[in-house]
Symmetry: C2
Subunit: 447 residues, 2 copies
C-alpha cells in the first residue's frame, strides 16, 4: 500500500554506521556511572566551544528571550516570517562570515544564497534541481554515509563512486574521475556532476589546488556540475605549515577561471554549507546553498519551502554572527581547541602503534588499522570494528560504511567527548593493540 520509497532501505539506517550507535545507546560510557561503557567516537559533533556560545547568549539574553530588535519586540514579525528568501540580516551575516572564513579572497553575496534546514536538506534540494531520477553524481570515496540517503532516496538520483586510495593519500586524480565517468557510462547512467566534501568527511583533509583544478577541468570537459559541500570549512585548524594545504573553496578556484568562463562552468558550480559543524549547532538546522546559477537559486529557493529555518533561530543566529568580533574570536579559539584535540588523538593512536592520514581539518581522523586485521578484507574490517566496539568499548566508524574501497581504515571523532574520555579511549586502544601484538598467532602483514 505504501510507495516504493517508503518501502525501500536506501536511507542507510541499517549500515554498520548505525549499528554501532545502537550498541552505544545500550551501554554508554559515563566516568562515574558506567566507566566501562562504550565511548562514542562515531559522532562528528563539535562540542569544544559551547562555553563561548553560552557566554555570548548570557550577554545577549534580553534580546534573545523577548526577540527584541532595536529595543522593541520583534515577536510578531518573526512569528509570521516565513519568506523563503530568508531573514536579510541572517543572510548578510552569513555571507560576511563565509567571506571571512575563506580569507576574504572571494566575495559572497546574499542574492546567491538559499537557506535550508541543514546541509542535509541543501544537498537533497541541489539533487532535485540538477538531476532527474536515474541520473547520477560521481562521489569520491570514502564519503559521508548520510549521502546515500540524502542524495538518492527521494530524488531517485544514483551515486557513482570514484575510488580514492591510500597510495596517494586519498587524493582526487583526473584518472580516477575519468574512470568513474566511464563506469557511469557502462551502467548507462547520465552523469550530471561530481559532489565533493571539502574539507573532507571522513578524511579530515582540505583539497589541494591541484585537485580542485583537476575537478574543475573535468567538469568543464564533460559539461557537468560540481557540488562542493564545505560544511567543515571553519574547522580548518592547520593551514600555515608547509606540509598542509590551506582551505580553498571551489568558489575561489572558479573565480580565477572566470575570466574565461569556459563552457559556462561558473553556472555549474554550487556550494553547500551549514552551521552544524563550524558552530556546533546541528539542532538549530541552519544550512544553505550558494550558487552562481540564477535558475538554481530560483528553483532551490522555491524548494526551500519544504525545509525552512525557524525564524526564531534565524533571529538568534543573525544576532550572533553579525557580532563580528565575537565570531572572529570564536573561530580562532575553536580552531585552536580542535587542533589540540586532534594532536591528542594522533599521539594517543601512535602510542598504540596506529597511524593516521595527515589531516588539518574536521572533527575526526582517518585512521589506518590495516596492520591489526586478520586479512586484507572487508570481513576482517568488520570483525576488527566489532572487537573495537564490544571488547575495547569504542564506537568508531568503519571505512566500509563510508564506501572506502580499501579495507582497514576507520574514522575516529575527537570533538564530541571530553579530554579525559579521549585519554581513556587511547589507553583502551593501547591495551588492545598490546594484546594483539603480543599474541603469537596474529599476522602483522602490513605495518
Amino acid at each position: 500500500m505504501l510507495s516504493r520509497k517508503a518501502n525501500k532501505d536506501s536511507h542507510g539506517q541499517d549500515s554498520s554506521y548505525f549499528e554501532g550507535w545502537q550498541e552505544y545507546e545500550k551501554n554508554p560510557y559515563h566516568p562515574i556511572q558506567n566507566p566501562t561503557g562504550i565511548i562514542q567516537m562515531g559522532l562528528a559533533e563539535n562540542q569544544l566551544s559551547f562555553d563561548l556560545l553560552e557566554y555570548w547568549l548570557r550577554r545577549n539574553s534580553n534580546t534573545m528571550a523577548l526577540l527584541k530588535k532595536d529595543g522593541v519586540s520583534a515577536f510578531r514579525e518573526l512569528a509570521l516570517f516565513q519568506d523563503y528568501h530568508g531573514l536579510p540580516a541572517l543572510k548578510d551575516a552569513l555571507v560576511k562570515f563565509m567571506t571571512r572564513m575563506r580569507g576574504n579572497k572571494t566575495k559572497y553575496t546574499s542574492d546567491k544564497l538559499v537557506l535550508t534546514a541543514g546541509a542535509t536538506a541543501a544537498n537533497e534540494i541541489l539533487m532535485f534541481c540538477l538531476a532527474d531520477p536515474g541520473h547520477a553524481f560521481i562521489l569520491p570515496t570514502p564519503y559521508y554515509p548520510g549521502f546515500d540517503r540524502d542524495l538518492k532516496w527521494r530524488t531517485g538520483v544514483e551515486i557513482v563512486p570514484m575510488h580514492c586510495s591510500s597510495s596517494n593519500g586519498f587524493r582526487i586524480t583526473r584518472e580516477a574521475l575519468e574512470e568513474a565517468y566511464q563506469l557511469g557510462q557502462e551502467l548507462n547512467l547520465n552523469i550530471k556532476g561530481v559532489l565533493v566534501t571539502n574539507p573532507s568527511n571522513p578524511l579530515g583533509t582540505t583539497m589541494t589546488k591541484t585537485e580542485l583544478i583537476h575537478l574543475l577541468d573535468f567538469a568543464i570537459d564533460k559539461n557537468i556540475h560540481i557540488v562542493s559541500d564545505e560544511i567543515y570549512s571553519a574547522t580548518v585548524f592547520d593551514s600555515s605549515s608547509p606540509t598542509t594545504t590551506p582551505f580553498i573553496s571551489i568558489m575561489e578556484v572558479v573565480k580565477e577561471r572566470n575570466n574565461n568562463n569556459l563552457n559556462n562552468i561558473r553556472e555549474r558550480v554550487h556550494m553547500v554549507y551549514s552551521l552544524s559543524k563550524d558552530l556546533g549547532v546541528p539542532g538549530f538546522r541552519v544550512g544553505m546553498i550558494y550558487s552562481n546559477n540564477e535558475m538554481v537559486v530560483a528553483a532551490a529557493t522555491k524548494m526551500s519551502s519544504f525545509a525552512l529555518v525557524s525564524s526564531q533561530t534565524q533571529f538568534l543566529l543573525s544576532n550572533l554572527l553579525s557580532d563580528a568580533k565575537f565570531t572572529e574570536k570564536y573561530m580562532e579559539e575553536n580552531q585552536r581547541r580542535l587542533k589540540r584535540r586532534k594532536e591528542m588523538l594522533v599521539r594517543g593512536l601512535r602510542n598504540a602503534g596506529i597511524g593516521c592520514l595527515r589531516s588539518n581539518a574536521g572533527l575526526f581522523c582517518w585512521v589506518d588499522m590495516r596492520h591489526l586485521m586478520r586479512s586484507d578484507s572487508f570481513e576482517a574490517e568488520k570483525e576488527l570494528w566489532k572487537r573495537i566496539l564490544c571488547e575495547v568499548g569504542l564506537n568508531i566508524s568503519a571505512g566500509s560504511s563510508c564506501h572506502c574501497s580499501q579495507p582497514g581504515w576507520f574514522r575516529i571523532c575527537f570533538a564530541n567527548i571530553s579530554e579525559d574520555t579521549l585519554q581513556l579511549a587511547m589507553q583502551r586502544m593501547k591495551a588492545f593493540t598490546n594484546s594483539i601484538f603480543s599474541s603469537a598467532n596474529h599476522i602483522i602483514y602490513n605495518m
Copy 2:
C-alpha cells in the same frame, strides 16, 4: 542542464494567487503613510492573539533566553539535539494539546507523531510515503493553492480534482468521490487516496459527520488512503449552534469504525497538523504527521531529516504548550476574537450586498460574488478580481486559484489585519458594489 523539476512551473508561483501578492507589495495599505494602498486580504494568517503569546513570553523570558531546563542551561543539549524523533517534551505537549482541541474524544499518543518543518513538509512527506510518481490523490475543490506545489512538484504525484458545488454548500458527496475516481481511471492514474482539509481552506467550514463517513466508506471500498489536513482545527469558533457542525477529526470517525477495522482502514488514515494557523506562528515551522500506520511513521520519521524543526523552537513551544492553563485560555480567547472578526466581515459584506458561505472556522470567508460578474465565466471572475485588486484596493483570492469549478467565488481573509482596516475594506467594497448596482449596463444575473 537542470532537472525537469527545476525547469517546471508546477510550484504554482505564477498563479493569480501570487500575482495579487506582488501588486500588494508595490502599493501596500498603511493608515497614515498610504491610506489608499492595497489592503492585504489574501493571507491566511492569524494575527489576532499575539498579545497573549507576548505576555507568556515576557513571563518566561529567563527560561527562554538562556534555554534553561530546571534552572540549568539546556543550551548544549539543544544545540546538539537533531534526533528525528523530536523533543519528547514537545511531542507530549502536542498530543495533549491535540486531544484537548478535539474535545478529548480520541486520545493521541506521541509514538504516532512525526515532527516536520511545517504542514508544507508534512504533506509532501506523506505523498512521498504513500504514492509513487504518476500515482494520484483525489482532492475536493476548492482547495488550498499551495497543494499544487506541495503534493506534486518533487514527488511526481498527480492531483485529481473532485468538484464540489455551491448547490449543496460545497459538501463532499459519495457521487462526487466516485466521479473523481472514474476520472482518474480514465486518465490511467493509480488513485492512492483522498486528501481533505478539515476545517476547509478556503471554505472555512468543518466537515459533517455524514461527509466524513462517506469519505471513510469510499476509502474502505477502494482500498485507498485518507490524508486529513487539520491545520485549522483550533480555529473552530462556532460549534455549538444547531446550524453549525462541531469539528470532528478523521481520527475520531475511524476510531468509531475501529471495532471492525474494515479492510484495514485504520492503517490508511493519516493526519497533518501544524501550529502555523492555530497559534499564528508560521515562521517557527512546526508541523507534524500523525498516523496509525507504523510503517508510515517509520518512513516519515526518516524523511523528516530533510525538514527538522529547530531544537530551539521545539524547546520554546514545548514550554508554551505544556502550560495547559495558558493554552486553554489562549484558544478560548483566540476563538472568541476570530468569531468577532468573521461576523464583522460577514456584516460588512452583507451591507455591500454580498453573501458568504455559512462558516464556523478558519481565518477567511468563502464569498459569493457571482452577481457582480459580467458573465458566468472564469474570464469574468478574473476581471472582477483585477478590479477589486486595482480599483477597490483589496487583495483577495479568486476561486479559480483554488481550482473551484464554479466561477464567482472568492476567499477573503479577516485575521491578518486590524479591525479598522477591515472596516475600511468593507467601506470600499460597499462603494464598489454601489457603483456597480447603479450602473445601468450591469446585468445582475444571479442575486
